[in-house]
């Protein structure tokens, strides 16, 4: 990501696959008139190059494993990565913007930066329910809930937060904390509602999924651990970013090791042998 890319609109990297695909289609058309073998050869060429082209469009970055610390304390860098990546996804969408294709290119998937206010509002070792509008333009439909716990600092001295997304990873219902909510301590920080809660586990009202305090499944139908928000700290404020999926969490609090994957739909396996049923990443989750 050089600075140059930020200032000029950039197009997808040049690729020869579309040309091969076009040659294949031309062969099919000629074959229709001339002979069946030419048609079959054309179809094979178009299939192979079409596949390579599609694979190119869905090119992925490797899945990584993250510790519980803040990924980056440099706000400029954190913002830059997101912005540049959104650019390429928009270009692809305008390139193939018809029919159902936009949904295959991850159009409409955006990462929002949500400022939850000063980290002093998050007492160490306790969960706080944060409800907020992910996108004020979209309104109430973008209301999300995060369960945030301040874990103090990691061994490297980096601030550590557990930031669970309330969406159940069984079928997407809203997970509830199992414990009393302190409604009197309700705080509102620029549109974000913060409610302290004594929660040792989280339960889902729809089909009985149960998660422990790290978001690991302890009972019920969920197939992985609760999704989490990436977070950063800007000017002493806790800022939530992209949502990612979690295979499982080892350890607790600041010492947790999180198996981090691109965001997947609820009910989709990210690890184990079942992950081979979902070979392509969710559109939009990698950008």
């Amino acid at each position: 990501m050089s600075d140059e890319q930020h200032d000029t609109p950039h197009t997808p990297a040049p690729s020869l696959w579309p040309i091969g695909f076009a040659i294949g289609v031309a062969c099919i058309l000629v074959g229709l008139v001339v002979s069946i073998p030419a048609l079959i050869v054309g179809a094979l060429i178009a299939l192979v190059f079409g596949f390579l082209w599609i694979r190119d469009l869905f090119a992925t970055r490797p899945v990584d494993s993250a510790t519980a610390g803040a990924p980056s304390e440099d706000p400029a860098q954190f913002g830059a990565v997101t912005e540049a990546d959104l650019g390429t996804s928009v270009d692809r969408a305008t390139f193939l913007s018809f029919g159902v294709l936009p949904s295959f290119m991850g159009e409409g998937v955006e990462t929002y930066q949500v400022d939850l206010g000063p980290i002093s509002n998050f007492p160490e070792g306790e969960y706080v329910i944060a409800t907020f509008l992910e996108s004020p333009e979209q309104g109430e439909v973008s209301r999300r809930t995060a369960f945030v716990r301040n874990n103090g600092r990691t061994e490297d001295g980096v601030p550590s937060f557990t930031t669970l997304f309330s969406r159940c990873v069984h079928l997407g219902c809203p997970v509830q904390p199992n414990g009393p909510i302190d409604e009197e301590a309700l705080q509102e920080v620029n549109g974000v509602e913060l409610r302290p809660v004594l929660a040792a586990s989280f339960g889902c009202p729809c089909h009985g999924g149960l998660y422990d305090s790290e978001g690991n499944r302890s009972a019920g139908p969920p197939v992985r651990s609760l999704d989490r928000f990436e977070f950063s700290i800007k000017d002493g404020n806790l800022v939530l970013g992209r949502i990612f999926s979690v295979g499982s969490v080892e350890g607790t609090g600041a010492k947790a090791r999180i198996a981090k994957y691109y965001r997947a739909y609820p009910g989709v396996h990210v690890d184990g042998i079942e992950r081979f049923l979902y070979p392509l990443p969710t559109p939009g989750s990698t950008s």
């Binding site: 439909v141 219902c173 009910g267």
Partner: protein
């Protein structure tokens, strides 16, 4: 043969002239007779009317749906309030909405009864296999209507039921996440989801249902109504020997090779 009075002949001419006029130019009178004036087995019963009942339910859904669409706003800010407005303010709006809401279940239930009758009477057998297949597609499209219509009131039930429904689709191997993304227009339900479901519910799926109902009825008229299995009159008919007669003129005969002179 009784001699008709002049007056009666004049009256008949006046009444029949428009029919003859239409028939001469379109043949529609003949087609209508072909469609409506059919012979049916002597021992049919109310069981054979379930298909027509399902069709009636669909027509009710279409008509009430058109009137609801005049007052409904498919955007997140106004969807719920427009539904409340239909129910509480618009004259007889509660009735039209109620008919659409309950009629949806009636339509699905009648389709299942119709399907059960067809299955139990063996009416899916030769030569009606294709009509069974079309019927199954109609059932699938009908359920899709139910799924897309359920989101439109935009209340808590609608929202969370659709969240679960979409995520159920997402768990299908390989294609699931893409299907969910197509339905949702993003990783969560958003403003686009509502307008997308509205378009599917209003335009695409009903269009498909109407087209398939047309085919379904054509085949019913062409093949006739089945007798019940306990019928005493001879059931079925001899399977005619096909010689591919319908293919005549479809494929160009091979050119006869002539020696060059």
């Amino acid at each position: 043969m009784a001699v008709k009075s002049t007056k009666r002949r004049q009256l008949e001419t006046v009444a029949l002239y428009p029919l003859d006029w239409v028939e001469e130019r379109s043949g529609l009178v003949g087609y209508t007779k072909w469609f409506l004036f059919r012979k049916v087995p002597r021992d049919i019963s109310w069981a054979q009317t379930l298909g027509a009942a399902a069709l009636t339910a669909f027509i009710v859904q279409t008509l009430t749906g058109v009137f609801l669409a005049m007052y409904y706003h498919p955007d997140p800010e106004h969807a719920y309030s427009s539904v409340v407005n239909i129910t509480e303010e618009v004259t007889l709006g509660w009735l039209v909405r109620g008919m659409h809401k309950w009629g949806a279940s009636v339509f699905i239930i009648l389709m299942f009864f119709h399907m059960a009758r067809t299955f139990l009477f063996g009416a899916y057998k030769y030569p009606r296999e294709l009509n069974w297949i079309i019927g199954v597609l109609l059932l699938v499209l009908g359920m899709l209507e139910g799924f897309t219509g359920y989101l439109l009131p935009w209340d808590q039930t609608a929202y969370w039921a659709t969240v679960v429904g979409i995520n159920l689709n997402a768990t299908a191997p390989f294609a699931g996440p893409f299907l969910a993304q197509f339905l949702q227009g993003g990783l969560n339900i958003g403003p686009d989801t509502l307008s997308k479901f509205y378009a599917l519910h209003m335009l695409l799926v009903p269009g498909g249902i109407m087209a398939l109902i047309g085919l379904h009825l054509y085949l019913v008229v062409r093949l006739g109504v089945t007798s019940p299995p306990w019928s005493k009159s001879a059931a079925g008919r001899v399977r005619p020997e096909t010689n591919g007669g319908g293919r005549e003129g479809l494929i160009r005969p091979p050119a006869t090779e002539e020696p060059e002179s």
